[in-house]
């Protein structure tokens, strides 16, 4: 080997290679990409809308692999934690699945009384020629709720196209709610999925600042809240990869400006609050309350981190996550724990993201786009990393190679956002890196 030739330009070493990463490419056939597909992108974004019906139109696989796999919490209904599928069989593949889709929708809407329904088209739907739009429209008229097609055929693009399809579906919900009572100091949070209750924590911060959160998209999501989100004054985009498109759409139609933030780590969390305060600078008390809040939280958090830092000083970390924005925050967060990042990569970063990554990293750091297990394990070995931060598919690489692992994906059950999340993150990192097992593994029989 070493790398698949076509991937050469997607791997760079800071300070060594001329920095011009090639990214936003389709995954190479046979490369065992860690990426998913269009459907996955749509499903991830819409998943936490808890009072909507999520019907996956296609054979059973796609629906069952995404059944209750995420840590997105709801304070009320939990319809999103089910897996609904038209479970197409041979008969429908031959004669078409429209009838089954129609009947499934009617049956499920009657039974679960959702506030809206999302219909995800998976791989074969376009091919067997189902007119999903027409069925959705018909059911919507009959049942009097929005029934939205989400065109997410797996092969028609990448995960990003799935994000886009989801944003379009959300966008068509927006604008239907009553916005009379929305405060002039109000925001929406976009790209925050309430994993382990993170959205609740973040909302609480804004509330303490005196800012109303109209809708979170899509964490602890409700159709009605989304429908009135056009009443907000500002959109705050956290997971920029997935939701910037929606922010753009809202800007265009409703004139709502947006800012990009991250809720991970100390600086980025604080900045996410200050940036909002800044936007409402006509209300100086907001700035003041923000300062108090940050000071409050930090006075509690910083002393707690010292003990971890003592143990972790000088340890090395590898980061491979979905979106590049998260990687930025993680690099900064790890610095607070005394750790350096030796590998930084993402599944879906763009050119700008990679430039930014390079700015944040030390010379010698390996920067990689759309990697695969072989590459990642090789990098880990070369750099002698002590910790790997990634998703479930990266975990076994770390475990086999004998280094700590922290899950920073949508499946996690521990809140890592916010100031409290930074503490949880430190606990997680510490527990992984300091386990006696890594030394025990070096003992010879």
């Amino acid at each position: 080997m070493d790398y698949i030739a076509a991937r050469q330009g997607q791997i760079l070493v800071k300070g060594k290679d001329n920095f011009n990463i090639s990214c936003e490419k389709k995954s190479e056939a046979g490369s065992v990409s860690q990426r998913a597909c269009v459907f996955c992108g749509s499903r991830v974004v819409l998943y936490p809308v808890a009072d909507a019906l999520h019907l996956v139109h296609g054979p059973i696989g796609c629906a069952v692999y995404t059944w209750d796999i995420r840590g997105a919490l709801s304070s009320g209904p939990e319809l999103h934690r089910n897996s609904f599928s038209t479970d197409l069989r041979e008969k429908q593949v031959i004669y078409g699945g429209e009838k089954k889709l129609y009947e499934s929708l009617i049956e499920l809407i009657d039974r679960h009384e959702p506030k809206a329904a999302f219909v995800y088209s998976t791989c074969i739907i376009g091919i067997i020629g189902d007119d999903v739009n027409a069925v959705c429209k018909k059911v919507s008229q009959e049942k009097g709720i929005p029934v939205l097609p989400v065109h997410s055929e797996g092969f028609k693009g990448t995960k990003k196209d799935g994000y886009k399809a989801a944003c379009e579906a959300l966008f068509s919900l927006i604008g239907h709610g009553n916005i009379d009572n929305v405060s002039p100091v109000s925001i929406n949070i976009l790209g925050e999925f309430n994993l382990a209750g993170e959205a609740w924590m973040i909302q609480e911060y804004y509330k303490r600042m005196g800012v109303e959160v109209v809708a979170v998209m899509t964490g602890d999501g409700r159709v009605e809240r989304i429908a009135r989100s056009h009443g907000a004054v500002l959109n705050v985009v956290q997971c920029s990869g997935s939701m910037t498109y929606l922010a753009e759409l809202m800007k265009e139609k409703y004139g709502i400006p947006y800012i990009r933030v991250s809720y991970f780590g100390i600086e980025d969390m604080a900045e996410a609050l200050y940036d909002v305060a800044e936007h409402f600078s006509d209300y100086p008390e907001i700035r003041q309350k923000t300062e108090e809040l940050v000071a409050d939280e930090l006075s509690e958090l910083l002393p707690q981190l010292t003990a971890f830092r003592n143990d972790l000083e000088g340890k090395k970390a590898a980061i491979y996550v979905g979106g590049a924005f998260k990687a930025f925050s993680l690099i900064k967060a790890l610095k607070h724990l005394g750790m350096t990042v030796v590998i930084a990569g993402s599944q879906t970063g763009n050119k700008k993201d990679y430039e930014m990554l390079q700015d944040l990293c030390e010379p010698g750091t390996i920067i990689v786009d759309d990697s695969n297990p072989l590459e990642l394990s090789k990098f880990v070995k070369e750099t002698g990393a002590d910790l790997f931060i990634g998703g479930v598919k990266e975990r076994p690489i770390a475990m086999k190679m004998g280094l700590g692992f922290v899950d920073h994906n949508h499946e996690r059950k521990i809140a890592l956002a916010g100031f409290k999340g930074m503490y949880n993150f430190a606990v997680e990192v510490h527990a992984s890196v300091m386990s006696p097992i890594w030394n025990l593994r070096k003992e010879v029989l």
């Binding site: 056939a29 065992v32 059973i60 696989g61 059944w67 038209t86 041979e90």
Partner: protein
């Protein structure tokens, strides 16, 4: 009539094929279709086995779907060769490639032609449309495809070929032990005992060590007998060896519990011409002794069993023989055979309700409080067990909410004993927890 499936009790066919391919040494599974299928299946299986599981994809794009996947398949195979240097590549289709009518045999023969003289890894392919059957069907079909493409007839020899079904790596190790004790050569199909439950690694392995070498599989045509642990699948497994190469072939239920393990060992005695080794007789006795000691805990209890049809059938027989009524036996497979097999293998099938092509929503509406003392099946029944406030004994696949899924024992006298202990202890625990006295001696 219900139309939609809610919380399915099955997975799609290519997943089963990937697991079967993991039983071949140096083999990497390749899915012909969208990138997402491979990623989802990796994620799903990794969460159960907690091992690296690389599944490649031909990563279809819109163009590929229109103009055909030949080029992607070629690129994928070439990339896999240069990256992994595999001994074999097991290719499974997906709903997408089946629907657009990709002829994989043709594509592969063209690929071979183009490739010329250079040695290639062994390539085998299986058709696994996810709109037909379940992951279990995918498994049986893939084993069938491996055998029909590799098995050659050369020198008839003493060799037993076994397809055990989707059992745990620990079960596979138990089967290997059985043959070792019988001192009889075994070709264990789908032997992922090491690939999906291995040790720590010094350096990263491109492909997990373990599995049966291709050369050994090609000797399948020389086998003296073959056995599939299924009476519910009409295709796949060692069928090719029986039908096309005239091997003596037997299909028996998965050997769980005394009666079904007896059936397996009697068959072994007949086929190997050897007496049942002392070791198994001793273990069988120990199992019977345990049944005896615990009979009061188990008698008259009621259980709901669900999962792959093969597992459900054998579990039902096992539960009945320890005095527990398997009041409901359910599977997501659409198989008419399960009911007939339950009727044939159980003493009191009239006490058993059999449901096929069922999902967890159906299961939830069928089982009410008081109907059963416990559930036995995969992790996905957890919600039901919570709602009914009865325990769930986790067996089979997937187990996503407990540790040690790869080491759950199910089969043979030895595995049955461990399973039996778990069942009895679950019942004792109920008794202990529901008593106000708080017995420490029970």
């Amino acid at each position: 009539m219900k139309t939609a499936t809610q919380n399915a009790c099955k997975l799609c066919t290519p997943l089963g094929a990937c697991l079967a391919f993991k039983g071949v040494e140096g083999c990497i599974p390749l899915l012909h279709g969208s990138q997402g299928c491979a990623t989802y299946m990796r994620r799903y299986t990794i969460s159960h086995y907690r091992e690296p599981i690389d599944i490649a994809s031909t990563s279809f794009t819109e163009d590929t779907a229109i103009f055909g996947g030949g080029r992607n398949l070629t690129t994928a195979i070439n990339n896999l060769i240069s990256q992994y240097n595999p001994q074999a590549i097991g290719i499974a289709s997906t709903c997408l490639t089946e629907t657009i009518g990709e002829d994989m045999n043709l594509l592969l023969s063209e690929f071979r032609k183009q490739h010329g003289e250079n040695p290639l890894p062994t390539l085998f392919n299986v058709s696994t449309p996810s709109y037909r059957g379940t992951h279990a069907d995918g498994y049986w079909a893939a084993i069938g495809a491996i055998l029909s493409s590799l098995a050659k007839q050369e020198f008839p020899r003493n060799l037993g070929v076994i397809t055990p079904g989707l059992v745990s790596p620990e079960d596979l190790r138990q089967l290997k032990k059985v043959f070792k004790v019988y001192d009889y050569p075994l070709l264990l199909m789908g032997d992922y005992s090491e690939t999906l439950d291995g040790g720590v690694w010094e350096s990263y392995k491109k492909i997990s060590p373990g599995g049966v070498p291709v050369e050994q599989i090609s000797q399948a045509g020389d086998a003296s007998f073959c056995i599939d642990f299924t009476t519910l699948t009409q295709n796949g497994g060692t069928k090719y060896l029986g039908d096309n190469l005239n091997k003596q072939r037997f299909t028996i239920p998965m050997p769980i519990g005394v009666q079904l393990s007896d059936r397996f060992h009697r068959l072994m005695r007949k086929l190997t011409g050897k007496e049942i080794p002392e070791e198994f007789v001793v273990m069988r006795n120990r199992l019977l002794d345990a049944y005896t000691d615990a009979h009061k805990y188990t008698f008259g209890k009621k259980a709901v069993v669900y999962g792959e049809a093969e597992l459900v059938l054998s579990m039902a027989v096992f539960l009945e023989e320890i005095g527990i009524v398997p009041v409901l036996c359910a599977t997501g497979s659409d198989t008419k055979l399960l009911k007939a097999e339950i009727e044939q293998n159980l003493k009191h099938p009239e006490k058993v309700q059999v449901e096929v092509d069922l999902d967890f929503d159906d299961l939830t509406s069928l089982v009410h409080k008081g109907d059963a003392d416990f559930l036995i099946g995969n992790s996905k029944g957890y919600k039901l067990s919570k709602a009914l406030d009865i325990p769930l004994i986790r067996i089979g696949f997937p187990i996503h909410d407990r540790f040690g899924a790869a080491r759950v024992k199910h089969i043979d006298y030895e595995g049955s004993l461990t399973l039996f202990d778990r069942v009895v202890n679950t019942l004792i625990e109920i008794k202990q927890n529901t008593s106000e006295i708080g017995y420490t001696y029970i």
